[in-house]
């Protein structure tokens, strides 16, 4: 047990946890926006891939890093537009459309990559975001190293989460968005456009998912690999449930999962790692997350109209 304790009191462990959590936060908040408006977006996994690729490719072609993030956002919005067109006005199955989008987006990324770079054997690298030591704050003992020596994209993840929470709970737009996820008929009866609000939520949410993907290529690593998203999108779907559809709790959930992930990497390098098969360590964050999900989501309030298409004029 002292092994684990040693890890938990090191600042670098927490810094890693926050770094690992950042893409999850972007994507989870994106998914949360969609689901709060009543649309389950299973395109998340593929949209993260396309975001990772588009952001990286834009920078590879010479754009500045922040424009790369913008390109990723736009690529996500494009797939979000497709998803929302099919699920909202056409009312198609959100499961089928979502999985289709995941396949399409993943394949589009792979196809474009091969088309643009047919000859490369080892993935080309870009110069990624560098840590930005926040003046003053980063010098605080322990906390400074754990929290304030991250890349600006990590800081942005937390700012975005806070902004989304503000909009959701403190503005008419947020109220309208939540209401179309709870009872679209009520929103329509007040003259709000259910279609417009839901499509908007899916488009913006998908954009954020793509930025989550781009974090991987532009901040965490410096290259694009086909399998780099590696199920993170599905984890984010679970994190939304874990967070009971609330941004604050969802961020906590992402941090928790990331902490488990950082922990397992470090445990592998301890004497324990020599004894136990490494697959067990890899599985740990998922197992613990499932456990946490079971405990936490018991009393969660699911948006009542989640996955229920709304057709005007239908009884």
């Amino acid at each position: 047990m002292s092994l684990i304790w040693d890890i938990l009191i090191s600042a670098s462990f927490w810094a890693a946890a926050i770094r690992i959590a950042s893409p999850l936060i972007f994507a989870t908040i994106g998914e949360l926006i969609c689901e709060r408006a009543g649309v389950l977006n299973l395109g998340i996994e593929g949209i993260m891939v396309i975001g990772a690729f588009a952001g990286w490719f834009a920078v590879y072609l010479g754009l500045p890093l922040w424009l790369g993030v913008g390109v990723a956002f736009i690529s996500g919005m494009a797939f979000g537009l497709l998803h929302s067109l099919l699920t909202v006005p056409f009312g198609l199955s959100q499961h089928v459309v979502g999985l289709g989008i995941t396949m399409l987006a993943t394949a589009t990324a792979a196809f474009t990559y091969r088309l643009a770079l047919p000859e490369v054997t080892s993935p080309p690298r870009i110069e990624p975001f560098q840590p930005w030591n926040l003046p003053g704050l980063s010098d605080i003992p322990f906390l400074g190293e754990a929290l304030f020596r991250q890349t600006s994209l990590t800081y942005a993840a937390f700012v975005v989460a806070a902004l989304v929470a503000l909009v959701l709970y403190r503005t008419p737009l947020g109220l309208a968005l939540r209401s179309v996820g709870e009872n679209p008929a009520a929103a329509a009866a007040q003259g709000l456009s259910v279609t417009g609000l839901r499509m908007g939520a899916v488009i913006v949410g998908s954009g954020l998912m793509a930025v989550g993907g781009a974090f991987l290529t532009l901040s965490a690593f410096s290259s694009f690999f086909f399998d780099m998203v590696n199920g993170r999108g599905w984890i984010c779907i679970a994190l939304v449930v874990f967070g009971a559809w609330q941004p604050g709790k969802a961020v906590l959930g992402a941090l928790l999962f990331a902490a488990f992930d950082a922990l397992q990497v470090r445990l592998q390098q301890t004497p324990m790692g020599a004894v136990l098969p490494y697959q067990l360590f890899l599985a740990m964050p998922y197992l613990l997350s499932i456990l946490a999900l079971v405990v936490m989501s018991r009393r969660a309030e699911v948006p009542q109209a989640l996955m229920v298409p709304y057709n005007k004029g239908e009884r």
């Binding site: 403190r170 503005t171 008419p172 737009l173 007040q190 003259g191």
Partner: protein
Amino acid sequence: MTPRNEVLRLDRITKRFGALTANDAISLSLGEGEVVALLGENGAGKTTLMNILFGEYVAEEGTITAFGHPLPPGNPRAALGAGVGMVHQHFTLADHLSVMENILLGTRPLWSLTLGMAAARARIGDLVRDFGLAVDPDQRVGQLSVGERQRVEILKALYRDARILILDEPTAVLTPQEAEALFATLRKMVARGLSVIFISHKLHEVMAIAGRCVVLRHGKVVGEVETSATTPGALAAMMVGGAVTGPTIAPGIAGKALFRLNRVSTKGGEGAPGLKLADLTLSAGQITGIAGVSGNGQAALSDLISGLALPLEGSVEIDGEAAPPRWTPVEALSRGIGRIPEDRHKVGTIADFTLTENAVLETHGAAPVSRKGWMDWREAEARTRAIIAKYDVRCPGPEARIRLLSGGNMQKLILGRVLEAAPRVLLANQPVRGLDIGAVTYVHGQILAARDRGAAVLLISEDLDEVMQLSDVIHVMSHGRLSPPIPRGTATVAELGLWMAGEGFTRAA
């Protein structure tokens, strides 16, 4: 009739759903400070008309004018902007949001940076005081009673400066006291010059609150009268198209006992008690009525008989034989128990299934509807057509999804499904709740006919009049206990009331 100071005018509105003409050239006008009742049976087209007025449906023909300006079709926002507010029969509230949030929804431009809670709170406080609409703005709607939810709906409309309020069957879900409070609110509104359209099929309410009354039947206006110049009887006649006569009920002739409970107890659930040592005998050719306030074990009794619950103790006998230990709905059906469930939307039908699919829900497992594991849809549809014709189910056709039907027509289909199987025991749980006079008379007639064919009928109802009118024997239910049988004609309201309050049991003990 054109009232003084006309605020709203519907002109020759026509709306079709497939082959069904829900509204056929309906015209209606509303004056300032006036309550107009829109009266008609279920399926007469009242709700459709109001949904058109409010912009939720688009009419094929006709125009709407509010305060002298034409209202664009299919645009709830325009209707709201013109001062038309609607309280739907099924509330359009979001349960997880607070009262405030529900009221504020859609009132401010989407892109404003704040919700303006403080000002809104003051304004809502004023409305609550002025119109007697007591409700806590910070509570979540999911925690409110039905009456409170309705007040939130009215507040929503008033908060948007509605000058015309449409109430769709507002009292269907209210207790008598809540209905009185609602009427008081409506009178305050009218006194301030607001206008109200009050949709109902309850005659005494219409007489009490409305100044004028427009009667719809089969999508057409069949009459328009001042309430002061008419009687409930005349209105009812207009609604159903003939003088209404309650069925003259001859007592049933008791045959042998077909279903019996001996000292049966069951588990309760969801806040309602289970049965407690209940004794009950259902005899062929008799209607046994269960009176009592709902939530006193009626659900447990109904579940037990329909095979959804098992007895914890005591014995159940069907036709003199003990019920099998694995007592299931399939078993109940095969023993000739027919069931008219309490909630026709949730339990009785599957909303997105067609009429045909719903009609064979109970019989699809065996010939003639299926053979060797294959459905014979032609046969199923033929049977459904027969039910539609015989039981007068008004619908676009057997291929229509059942959610398109009004409550009365849905109930007729269920009735047909049950009675065509010629049940020996018929369980009718609240069979006429929410139905209009015409449908009530019809359903009662069919239940009596089943009795006269020799079925043992169990009628569970909260409506004491209904139980007393139809039953040959009455039991009262209270806290899961059943009173001893009280034969027809000997039961007085006062005596039944004592049992309902649970006092009969203590005296008998």
